[in-house]
Each structure stands twice: as structure tokens, then as C-alpha cells.
Symmetry: C2
DNA sequence: TTTTAGCACTCTTTACATTCGACTGCTAAG
DNA sequence: CTTAGCAGTCGAATGTAAAGAGTGCTAAAA
């Protein structure tokens, strides 16, 4: 894999990202000044195809990058810093808006990302099992509704409402607050479990009628998937690959069954930015799409993961540049 | 408009709802035992077309109901009680699940509706300006975060978090709670306005640094569009009308720009159930779709509006029957 | 040895012509 | 008033041909 092959591959991928049409040797020779004739490029393309970096839809057509081709492109050939000054200004103005809740920050980041890249963006909150409980609050609403608020160290606030068939007193609320905090402060969310329920029951003289619903609801809340945010789903429909109804249907299906995205977003490895190209994820439905995810942090607090989903020929340079820039901005230059 | 015309129109609409293909005089004569020859039906169809109830895609094709045709069908020809026993059982089992929050009830109703009808369902909460404040609570989270909770008479709970640059004391929280409740109990949400801010400021000796952010955030929350729920968006893609990319794109666009749906759902008139057929709404994008909305109530509390969006040839009988049934169930038989 | 011009070959796309079939509309008979 | 029957219309499907875009290979040039 010599240098010239790489340059040609890069030109092909760039061209394909722009045009969405199979790339011919002629168009490369013409538009990229590589100083080789189309014939030479043709030979190299044949070679690149043999190595698995390019595909050919049919005998007499131009070439299309394979997943392997994109992979090489992403790993080695990416040109960084692919954002314009206007875009930088736009991002800055967006990120400067004062936010009150971290959910709002996630929302802003997600929508900005979608607006700049023109791809569909999704976000999920941080994984529950990474979070530690900082405080538990109970608030009586009316006489029979209790709101439970759990603050975690990543700043996520989970709140839920528990309904009772009997009146709850302020005193009961105070005791509950004391005991829960006593037992849970600093513990992971999973500490809300059966043993805790038994312990609390043994410590308090309230009927199970009070404690059971609380525990049930709390367990439900912490087991619930975290917020799932979707931005710019309709943008995808302007892409040429969506002329195929099959592709469009798959896309809607992926977004509708949150599990697929959740899985992907949550399995991110150590890297801050992960790229999944088409069939690299084993999911059949994703074979026509690529997904780029990044760990969303603010002042080193984990705010979850944000992902961009687009066609395989997505503009990786742009996407990754923007992600890196936002990441940098959020974590103090 | 005699009775026979109506029977024939009904047959045509029924047939078209089933097949999504232009309906020919022959198929009606064959499949519906109206005891007339295809020629007679042909004559009537010509007449119905002249009156504007039917359309013809081209000279030698079968007929398709026009918006006016559907309208007549919905207003006069609908057969009620179009739900099977299995479906009734399914709905019952769904509605029986014990719910803790009304949002959960809305979620269950919305998804049940989508599952039974196989159409896409959306829901919005009740309009803010209809609601009265029942109670306001403030809860200190940490030292500089204040959670504000507003309970309204329709049971909707709005909560928000306000960040401060200085520490807040428990005492301040108590005073705030007292004053806000004093001034707001029983008042509509819009009572949270500038005069209130000034009044509170005049009554308390806290700096504006505390009161301003609270008022700002509260105003923001009450002005915010209420929850928007979407269920079964992907189901639409199995419908034959979605073979047209144009239609699919419009659909995604409608769902993505919540305002359109919001407008429609919120403008519902006195009726409990409203039907909008295709071009009846002036919105160009909606011309290929019909929307049926119903006021979602539980024990006479307003829980907002739920809407079903589907193709113009949606199964109105089924949809309306299911809605009526659910409505009945939620409001005590 | 590497590059390149040139040409034969392949395969898709588009256009056009033709056929086939499903309707309707109308007429005339029942 | 109903209906059988038939001419006429239009769309969908099929076949064929020509055009166009690209490749692969060969042989000459650098």
C-alpha cells in the first residue's frame, strides 16, 4: 500500500462523499491534480479493488469505497480542521447560551451538531451504573403523592412521583429522607435493591404499604433507559441514498427502535470518538449507514453519548472535526 | 343524494380503504352484494363523481373517494363498533396497568391506540392556559440548585431547576414557598408574570439575584410547549402510499415539525372527536393524510389531546370506534 | 520499468414502440 | 329503470435499439 495508492483512494472517497455516484478514473484525473492519466489511475483502482478497498457495482461502472476503504480513510487519510469560521462562530454562539439543566446542554449540543453537519443526531444520557447517588429528596405533593428526587454525581437528576392509597405525613417524609440518605449517599444507583428495602422496613415502623411503592417506583426509574434525544430526522430524507425506499424504511426503523442506537451509543470504548462504518456493526439494518459517536462531557462530568447517523459516505472529516471542536469547547479550551 | 348512492359510496370507500387501489364498478358489483349490475353502478359512480364525492385518476381508471366523499362517509355512513373482542381485551389489559403519573397514562393510551389501529399516534398535554395552579413547591438541591414544582388542577406537574451563583438558605426557600403559594394558589399559570415579580420583590428583602432567575425559569417552563409524544412512526412505512418518496418525506416532515401537529391537536373544537381529512386542513403538507384527534380525559380531568395520523384512506370506523371505547373506559364506563 | 493513448468490450440508461388488460361511457335492447 | 355489450382510453409491462459512461488490456512512448 504505497503512498500514491493512498492519495488516489483519498481522492475517490472525497469524490464519492460529494457526489454519491460511483467514481470513474477519468473524473479523478480531471478534478484532482494528481498528475497521472486516467489510465494510470485506472490501474491503481483495479489494484485497490483487489485489496478490498473499493467495490464496483457492475463491470463497466466507476468504483465505490468499501467499508474497508472508508476505514482506511478514517484512520489515516482524514484531513482535520474541516470547519469554517462561520461554523465556529455559530457553534460558539450556541454553546454560550446559559443553561440551567444539563439536559438542556445536551439538547443544545445535539441540535447544533445536527445543524452543522446536516445529519441526524441522537443522544443518550450517561449509563446509570456509572453514577453515584449524591442525595435523595422526598417532597410531599398534596397528601398522597410523593415526589422522589435522586441527585447523582454526574449532575443527572432523576425524579419520579409515587402515588399512595393512604395519606402521608410530613413526619414520615422526614424519616424517609433521613434513612434513604443515610444508606444511599455515595452508593451507586444499584444500591436501591431488595436488601435495602428489607433494611428500611426493619428500621421503620411504617407499613409495607408505604415502603413498597417507593422502592418499586425507584427501582423502575433507575432501570429505565435514560433520556433519548433525536434531532433532524427529516434531514436524512434529502440524501440521494434515501431514494431507495428500503433504505428509508431501515432508517426509520433504527431510530424508532431505540435499543439499537442505545446499544451502539453505550458500548463506546475508551476512545472519545468512535466510528462505526456500515456493516462493521453486525446489525443488518445498519449496513447502509455509518455512525460516529462521541462521549459528551462538560467540565469532566459524563453527560452521556451523542451520535451522528448518516449514510456510509458521510463527511467524516467534517463530522469528526465538529465533534472535536465542541468537545474542546465544553471542557474549557 | 338518494339512499342507493350512499350505499354505493360506502362500498367504494370501504373497498378503497382495504385495497388502496382505484375501485372499479365491476369489483363493487362482484364483492358487495348490492344486486345491481356493474353498468348500473357505473352510472351511479359517474353521478357521484359529478357531485364531487369521487375522483378519477385518469379516464379509464376506477374511482377514488375525494375528501368530500370521505367526509360524507365519516359523517353519515360510518359503521360503529368496529372492534373485535380480542382487541377489547387487549385494550382493557393495557388500561388496567396501575399508573403513577398521568404522563404514564398518556403514554399507555397513545401506544395502545397505535398498536390497535396500526397508525402513527401523537399526543400533547393539555393547554397551559386552561390550568390553574394548585400548589408551588421549592426544593433545595445541593446549595445552589433550586427545584421548583408546580402542581395544577389537571394533575399536571411541571418541574424545573434553577441554578444560582450564590448559596440559597433553607430559610429563603421557606419564605419563597410561602409567598408564591399565597399569591398563586388557584390562579392560572399566566399569573406568573412581571407584576408578580415586582410584588414579590417588594415583599422580600432578597436581592433580585434570587428572584429574577426563578421568575425567568418559571415563565419559561409555563410557556414551553407541553410534552409531545410520538408512537409507531415506522408503521406508516408499510403502507402502500409510502411507496412515493414525496409522501414519505412529507410525513417525516410533519412529525418533525411539531408545530403543525400541535396546532392541529390544540385547535380541537368542542367535540370530543375531530376528523381532518386531507386537504381540509389548509396545510399543503397534510394533503395526503388524515388526522383524527380526541380529547384525552381521565375522570373528567383534561389530559390533553391524542391524534392519529394516517393516509387519507385510513380506517375511520376502526379508529373512531377504538377512540370512543378508550374514552368510555377512562371515564368510568 | 513506468506511464499513457487508444480501442474493444460491457453494462446501464433512456427512449420509443407495441401489446395487453382494466376500466369507463355510451348505446340500444330488455 | 336496468343491463348487456362494445368502442375507446389510458396505464403498465415488455421488448428493442441506440447512446453513453467506464473499464481492461495492449502496445507504444517516456
Amino acid at each position: 500500500m504505497d503512498d500514491r495508492k493512498k492519495r488516489i483512494l483519498q481522492a475517490i472517497v472525497d469524490e464519492y462523499i460529494n457526489t454519491a455516484e460511483p467514481v470513474s478514473s477519468g473524473s479523478i484525473a480531471r478534478r484532482y491534480n494528481l498528475d497521472y492519466s486516467s489510465a494510470t489511475i485506472r490501474n491503481e483502482m483495479a489494484e485497490l479493488e483487489r485489496c478490498g478497498y473499493l467495490d464496483k457495482p457492475h463491470t463497466s461502472s466507476g468504483r465505490v469505497p468499501s467499508a474497508l476503504g472508508y476505514r482506511l480513510y478514517v484512520n489515516e487519510l482524514l484531513k482535520d480542521d474541516d470547519i469554517s469560521i462561520e461554523e465556529i462562530k455559530y457553534i460558539q454562539s450556541k454553546l454560550e447560551t446559559r443553561v440551567n439543566e444539563i439536559e438542556e446542554l445536551t439538547r443544545i449540543t445535539t441540535s447544533t451538531l445536527s445543524e452543522i453537519t446536516h445529519y441526524t443526531t441522537v443522544a443518550v444520557g450517561p449509563r446509570n451504573n456509572m453514577q453515584k447517588i449524591e442525595e435523595v429528596k422526598f417532597v410531599l405533593l398534596g397528601k398522597r403523592n410523593l415526589m422522589a428526587i435522586i441527585l447523582t454525581d454526574s449532575g443527572i437528576i432523576k425524579e419520579t412521583i409515587i402515588k399512595f392509597d393512604e395519606d402521608i405525613t410530613e413526619e414520615q417524609v422526614n424519616t424517609l429522607t433521613f434513612i434513604f440518605n443515610n444508606k444511599l449517599k455515595g452508593k451507586p444507583l444499584e444500591a436501591i435493591d431488595k436488601p435495602l428495602e428489607e433494611y428500611i422496613f426493619s428500621q421503620m415502623n411504617y407499613s409495607l404499604n408505604v415502603i413498597k411503592p417507593i422502592m418499586q417506583q425507584l427501582k423502575k426509574v433507575i432501570s429505565e433507559e435514560t433520556e433519548y434525544l433525536l434531532e433532524g430526522a427529516n434531514k436524512a430524507f434529502d440524501l440521494p441514498e434515501f431514494k431507495s425506499l428500503e433504505v428509508a424504511k431501515n432508517f426509520i426503523n433504527i431510530l424508532d427502535t431505540k435499543e439499537i442506537m442505545m446499544d451502539l451509543l453505550n458500548t463506546g470504548f475508551a476512545n472519545d470518538i468512535n466510528v462505526y462504518i456500515g456493516e462493521e456493526t453486525e446489525n443488518e439494518k445498519l449496513k447502509d449507514f455509518s455512525i460516529v459517536t462521541f462521549k459528551h462531557k462538560y467540565k469532566d462530568k459524563d453527560l452521556g453519548t451523542i451520535g451522528i447517523i448518516g449514510p456510509k459516505r458521510m463527511d467524516y472529516s467534517k463530522v469528526i472535526s465538529v465533534m472535536k471542536y465542541i468537545s474542546k469547547k465544553l471542557n474549557g479550551e
